[in-house]
């Protein structure tokens, strides 16, 4: 999001929040808020999408985001005629907006919401028919076959892998170029940049998995237990959180969505929302963008010729990535607040934590919570289960707590690394943190056992000593994380090793 887009969204949020002040019964206000949220989110998917050298892709990718969301909704809730009838207004609004965006191709003063001119209306209509067929197919295919939803999860993951794996993205680009009659030799992984898909994928997988594991909403039940089409689309592509999160949970989101007491907006909420947006803008556009000048990147990593300055640019990168990301989060939370949606916090002073576990409990919290809920906990639970499986005996090394923790942490952190991109550097970055977390876990366990085995009362530490230990721990943790960013920020292992050599005086 650039400043103009943030300003536009903030103005829209404020207008909706304040305009509802005149509606004492709140009924119309709530209704209007829901529709504005849906419309703004659908428009934002197109408006925020970056341009692509592949013709019309900046129209089709947002359309795919919306289409996929509706398909998943249809698959999860398998709506029947009455539910479809209830969903008709939301569907009409979505189709109306998409059609209008497509029609701007023919209206020069309005063209275009997308970065480049949308495709012609016949092609759009054809695309719409395909999406409609997929929605209808999903409704029929998944009705009464909840476990089949796991195939959709795999489909989303597969799409994710294609987008994050350069070779696959380049091949996809070649195919799309071929379909468009463009030069396939010019295909590049950079051609296909699907805005917000990472976060959309998380929300869709979360909704699908919760349905499979029979978490709320209960199968077959209409709203309020389940999410209406309007609610579900608003949740998945909620415009403040589209580009950089946080990753909200559907049940939590819909609680705020349906809360009739949030409007009309009181002064405190408006001030809190606006302040948070301003704080985010300052963090992102002043601090982070300024630090970007001196932060580690693929170019300067090979140019820096002195150890001290290498440390400076590594630290600058660590601070830059925090202010950049947390700035965007602040903007998202602030915009959400103006709409009465309390998006989850994503950062809690992570660089001031005294160990790596606390760091990961305070850095990109919604992501780590997601992985904890949908990967780490199920995996470690399965390993702890005494049940013997084809792959695992009931006892032995693989059932030892230390192994379970190591396995859970390594696989989780590797996945978090790969989520950023399927490269060796992200693998190493994930492993770096996994082993750091494991080492801390073992140390904490060792300290706990040592204290438990000592009969004598533990010697109380002086406040000064405790303070010194805490400060040293914070410094050590920050440096471990900052050095980890060397893997994260650079495109190759060789370049990262060059940086490490320079950091130690080489």
């Amino acid at each position: 999001m650039n400043l103009t887009q943030i300003l536009a969204f903030a103005a829209l949020s404020l207008i909706v929040g304040l305009a509802c002040a005149w509606d004492r019964a709140r009924v119309r206000a709530m209704r209007a808020r829901g529709w504005v949220m849906l419309a703004a989110s659908v428009v934002a998917v197109y408006w925020l999408q970056s341009s692509s050298p592949i013709r019309s892709l900046d129209f089709w990718l947002p359309t795919a985001s919306i289409g996929l969301t509706v398909i998943v909704w249809a698959a999860i809730y398998a709506p029947r005629r009455a539910e479809w009838r209830a969903a008709l207004p939301a569907g009409a609004v979505i189709i109306g907006i998409v059609a209008f965006i497509a029609l701007t191709r023919y209206i020069d003063p309005l063209c275009c919401v997308t970065p480049t001119r949308p495709p012609d209306i016949v092609t759009v209509a054809f695309g719409g028919v395909i999406v409609a067929a997929l929605i209808a197919g999903a409704t029929l295919l998944f009705r009464g076959r909840t476990r089949w939803l796991n195939w959709l999860v795999l489909g989303v993951i597969a799409a994710f892998v294609i987008l994050k794996l350069d070779v696959a993205t380049q091949a996809l680009s070649a195919v799309l170029r071929g379909l468009n009659g463009q030069d396939m030799a010019q295909a590049s992984a950079l051609d296909v940049r699907w805005l917000g898909f990472s976060y959309i994928a998380f929300r869709l997988i979360h909704a699908l998995r919760d349905r499979v594991t029979a978490r709320p909403p209960a199968p077959g039940k209409p709203a309020p237990a389940g999410l209406t089409l309007r609610e579900f689309v608003s949740y998945v592509v909620f415009f403040p959180a589209l580009t950089a999160g946080p990753i909200d949970r559907a049940d939590r989101f819909v609680k705020d969505y349906r809360n009739t007491t949030v409007l009309p907006m009181d002064t405190a909420s408006v001030v809190a929302g606006v302040s948070r947006i301003l704080l985010g803008v300052f963090k992102k556009f002043v601090i982070a963008d300024t630090l970007a000048i001196v932060a580690l990147n693929a170019v300067n990593a090979a140019q820096v010729n002195a150890t001290i300055w290498m440390w400076v640019i590594v630290y600058a990168y660590a601070l830059r990535i925090f202010f950049d990301f947390s700035g965007y989060t602040d903007i998202a939370i602030g915009l959400g607040r103006l709409f009465g949606i309390k998006l989850p916090e994503n950062f809690d002073r992570p660089y001031l934590k005294s160990n790596l576990t606390l760091f990961w409990n305070s850095w990109h919290m919604s992501l780590s919570q997601w992985f904890r809920a949908y990967f780490f906990n199920p995996v470690t639970r399965a390993l702890r289960s005494p049940r013997e499986t084809h792959f695992l005996p009931a006892q032995g090394f693989f059932r030892q707590p230390a192994f379970i923790i190591l396995f859970g942490q390594v696989t989780t952190m590797l996945l978090i690394g790969l989520w950023h991109g399927i490269t060796w550097n992200f693998v190493v970055w994930g492993a770096w943190h996994a082993f750091g977390l494991f080492a801390h876990n073992r140390w904490a366990e060792f300290a706990r056992r040592r204290n438990a085995s000592t009969d004598a009362e533990p010697t109380p530490q002086s406040p000064v000593r405790r303070r010194v230990v805490t400060v040293l721990s914070v410094v050590a943790t920050f440096n471990f994380v900052a050095l980890g960013w060397v893997w994260f920020a650079l495109p190759s292992i060789d370049l990262s090793l060059t940086v490490f050599r320079r950091l130690v005086g080489g």
Partner: protein, 368 residues
């Protein structure tokens, strides 16, 4: 709270308008303190690649230069190089510029002082700009022992004198030059920027303030990498095949009028140098042998105009008793890069060698 913030914001802007701290802020610099001063004045078309940024604040420009560091050692024979992009060293690393080549030669004067050249070139072709920089350098406490001023015809036309934002956005010092040296320029030239009240607020000055901050931050990258310019992997070489156009800045052969070239600015520079020995150098240009090279020497110069300029320069130098070297034909075509006045490192070395004797001779007429 928002009301309070708005009130404070308005108050800060009012104070900012009244105090105009932007000018003074230029003197606040981390260069020569936290990181080394730059080898040349800050200029950057692509800051993110050059680790360098163009600023319009003269104080900030000079404060970032290595010449602003500390006091002059007694053993140093300090030479200031003034000129355009060829002196500044377009596409050249700091050590390969003319100043770098002179320093690499480790010249010594007759009294044993080591020649140390400082690159105060700036990539604009305008004698008024040169005088602006020279005048400021002479008034600073940098104690130069000599000045070498490299000029070329493209810096002389009247329409080039005030065309750059550096002069337009520094109306007070430029008008001061016009008044003190009697330059034939209009002090009320509409090109001068007169900021409105809104332009003088923090909001109005945000670009200048951001540039000042960026200049400081790029100092980190300058210190870390020694890079202060974007060095493209390849570039379009200077044109050899030329248009059959014999006009020069609207002038047609056979002759310039008296007021067409800014010899008054050249004289002003000589006066600005005062008693400090000054060497004026007509810098080398590319002499094409391509298409229409019988009409033009290069992209910049029709032959008639350049020949007349050279003759006029020699006549002026002789009449005024200036130290003058005409090095126009020093370099072969192969020693030019992307412009008819930009040299290769070897070209800069040839020029440095050509100037070496003259520079050390300046030591004889300078007081230590």
């Amino acid at each position: 709270m928002l009301g309070k913030a708005l009130f404070l914001f308005l108050v800060f802007n009012l104070i900012f308008i009244l105090a105009d701290p932007a000018a003074g802020l230029g003197r606040v610099s981390a260069y020569n303190i936290l990181f080394p001063g730059r080898s040349r004045l800050p200029y950057g078309d692509h800051p993110e690649r050059a680790y360098n940024v163009s600023v319009l604040n003269l104080d900030a420009m000079f404060a970032s230069h290595e010449i602003a560091a500390g006091t002059k050692p007694a053993s140093e024979f300090r030479v200031l190089l003034i000129g355009d992009s060829s002196t500044w060293g377009w596409l050249l690393k700091p050590a390969d510029t003319l100043a770098g080549q002179i320093n690499r030669a480790r010249l010594t004067t007759a009294d044993g002082r080591t020649v140390r050249a400082y690159n105060l070139g700036y990539p604009i072709m305008s004698l008024a700009k040169d005088v602006l920089i020279l005048d400021r350098a002479m008034r600073a406490a940098w104690q130069p022992d000599a000045v070498v001023w490299l000029v070329t015809l493209e810096s002389f036309p009247a329409d080039k004198q005030l065309f750059h934002p550096l002069l337009q956005n520094n109306p007070a010092p430029t008008r001061d030059l016009i008044a003190r040296y009697g330059l034939k320029l209009d002090p009320n030239d509409p090109q001068f920027v007169t900021p409105s009240l809104l332009d003088r607020t923090i909001i109005g000055r945000r670009r200048d303030l951001a540039d000042l901050a960026r200049l400081q931050l790029y100092g980190v990258m300058w210190a870390a990498t020694g890079i202060d310019q974007d060095y493209p992997a390849d570039y379009e070489p200077a044109a050899i095949d030329l248009d059959p156009d014999d006009a020069f800045h609207g002038h047609k052969p056979p002759a310039f009028g008296d007021a067409d070239l800014a010899f008054d600015a050249l004289a002003a520079g000589v006066r600005a140098a005062g008693k400090t020995p000054l060497l004026i150098v007509n810098e080398p240009i590319l002499r094409s042998n391509g298409r229409n090279s019988d009409i033009r020497y290069n992209f910049f110069y029709p032959r008639w105009a350049y020949d007349q300029y050279r003759a006029a320069m020699i006549a002026q130098a002789t009449a005024q008793g200036w130290n003058y070297i005409d090095a126009w034909d020093l370099l072969p075509m192969s020693e030019f890069t992307n412009s008819a006045v930009h040299y290769t490192p070897a070209g800069a070395k040839l020029l440095a060698d050509r100037l070496a004797d003259a520079v050390t001779q300046l030591g004889k007429i300078s007081t230590p």
